[in-house]
Symmetry: C2
DNA sequence: TTGTACGCGTTATCAT
DNA sequence: ATGATAACGCGTACAA
């Protein structure tokens, strides 16, 4: 890599002259400025970012810690983060916690050494369950801004960007009750231990009790593959009064549709189905599932802009932003 | 952030003594070593990574440039990359090209300034179509190792990790012909302009001609949402002789199953369906789609290890590794 | 207009 | 056993 020193030596001038010339300082003559720039271009000179970072004590880099990226929600959030970061001339270092506490901890600690100017994170399942978040408060007390999105720790004071989990599910449930005249709505859950899962279940339960209806909840308890199908199939077979399904994740809604068809149910006549969904979710189901679409991309964008604001403007206030979901209903037949 | 200088000042000793003490140098007395370490722990000292990087002229960071991360294949590859990088004490900086040439170019150039020690990338759709890859060769001539996976530029000499696109589709097609006795196999494609798309189509075509059968290819031409369904539905309706479908992406296979059911076809009796798939693909279809499962995670892992090998051992040879896919057939009924 | 000197935080070499 | 000094590459205050 070409350095200022090398350019200076080749041109027989000092390093600082070269530096100033490249930065278009008024102190430098037109002549030398051009000579310097020409050689710099020719040798493809690029200022060493590491040196600049050391000098300014800023990395212009954000640490992004996600549980996983194979979950389409997080993937889309990451996309939003990347775009917003790029727009602000920031890089992102991505770490995946795999939902484990120790990896999340490790990443946070490892990057808290000047590598990044702040963090965007969603807390790992394990950290949330074990309520161990000392590593996060430590980073904050270390002067490193942390922004939490989606899964959030209430006790920690920091910027937060969350989804309207309670509200969107409440509305979706009410839609089923009022607009579609459903009475026996089954909630299917496999994330009941997460803060977001709890909120969604609460939204559902509240809507039902508000309308004097009985809740039906099927907890899948982390079932995978065929187990998911079997549990849903068996439940539907045993409980024929169910006339609507509300899935609080992005997979089981589609599975429910498939199982219902297998049982000979006519969707959406016999059964309405709403699930959480992203980009392709509706394309993958037939008939189209109604979805609660979380604006994942927007969440990433907002989070990034908010964090950068905090990084660059130390006395900015801490806030919690709620990003409303979009309810995309399939047209009702009733 | 605590620095060596601060520790030294507080302990009334020199910076170099502190540095040596922390690095367990034999030159330092047991006594001061302990005093130093105690204070360091107390003040939560962490060596500034940026300064270390400047000193060693190594970033221990890999630049990862992907077209997108909402495609589950790339998401899973990223997961593999992240794990392997972490295992080797490397960080990853992630850039998303959004399939555009200019963003890919920009990312590559921006990071070629000491920010990273090398790149893992899959070339953007646009770069591949326009055959503009000068930015990649430039990085390489800049002494920055580049590893390409999946979509690859043949003309560029560098480490490559690819999928057995031709072979896996050839075998899948042959499976349909021989094991399932299918005669009219429809290939559904919406990525025909990508190198991997071409290879898959070639595998299909070769298998058919080897068995004296006629190819049927439905090119969707980047159709989205309902268009995808409509095109497949209409084709199946108009061509009732089709008895098998081979989708070369991870979406249209499932859509095809749904459309076939809608047309009253009995799967897998009337129609066999094979698609490319990942983690959850089979869970989302009913009956289960047969899938060609690319070992995305493994591709990420291998790529990372290979690149790090090249970074740390300059005279390692360049190679191309083919990662075989796994064919997960649903049990045939015939 | 150009050059000198210093500091960012770390490590390594060379004194003491 | 400890300390002084230089160096990585850059930017900038200050001197010439």
């Amino acid at each position: 890599m070409t350095t200022l020193k090398e350019l200076a030596a080749l041109l027989n001038i000092s390093v600082s002259t070269v530096s100033k010339a490249l930065n278009d300082s008024h102190e430098i003559s037109e002549n030398t400025r051009l000579r310097v720039k020409e050689l710099a271009t020719k040798l493809n000179y690029k200022p060493n970012r590491i040196a600049q970072q050391l000098k300014t004590n800023k990395s212009k880099t954000i640490g992004v810690i996600l549980p996983t990226v194979t979950n389409p929600f997080f993937a889309e959030v990451l996309h939003g983060i990347e775009m917003a970061a790029t727009n602000n001339d920031y890089d992102i270092i991505v770490c995946l916690s795999n939902e484990t506490l120790h990896k999340e901890k490790r990443s946070l600690e490892l990057l808290s050494n000047g590598s990044v100017d702040g963090f965007i994170m969603t807390v790992a399942r394990e950290s949330q369950v074990q309520k161990d978040t000392s590593h996060i408060t430590e980073a904050i007390s270390n002067q490193l801004p942390v922004l939490m999105f989606d899964r959030v720790i209430d006790d920690i004071a920091c910027n937060k960007v969350i989804v309207d989990d309670f509200q969107s599910v409440y509305e979706a449930t009410e839609h089923l009750i009022i607009k579609e005249q459903r009475k026996n709505i089954l909630l299917v859950s496999n994330i009941e231990e997460l803060s977001v899962g709890k909120l969604r279940i609460e939204g559902y339960t509240k809507a039902l009790t508000d309308h004097n209806l009985e809740p039906h909840i099927l907890k899948l308890d982390h079932a995978v593959d065929l187990d998911v199908e079997a549990k849903i199939y068996n439940y539907l077979q045993a409980n024929t009064s169910i006339d609507a399904i509300l899935s609080i994740d992005h997979v089981t809604g589609i599975v429910a549709i498939n199982m219902a068809k297998k049982l000979g149910l006519d969707i959406p006549i016999d059964l309405s189905v709403i699930g959480f969904g992203y980009e392709h979710t509706q394309l993958l189901s037939s008939p189209k599932i109604s979805i609660i679409h979380q604006k994942a991309h927007k969440i990433g964008e907002i989070s990034t802009n908010l964090l950068i604001e905090q990084i660059e403007n130390k006395d900015s206030d801490i806030q919690t932003i709620v990003v409303p979901s979009e309810l995309k209903y399939t047209e009702s037949v009733i």
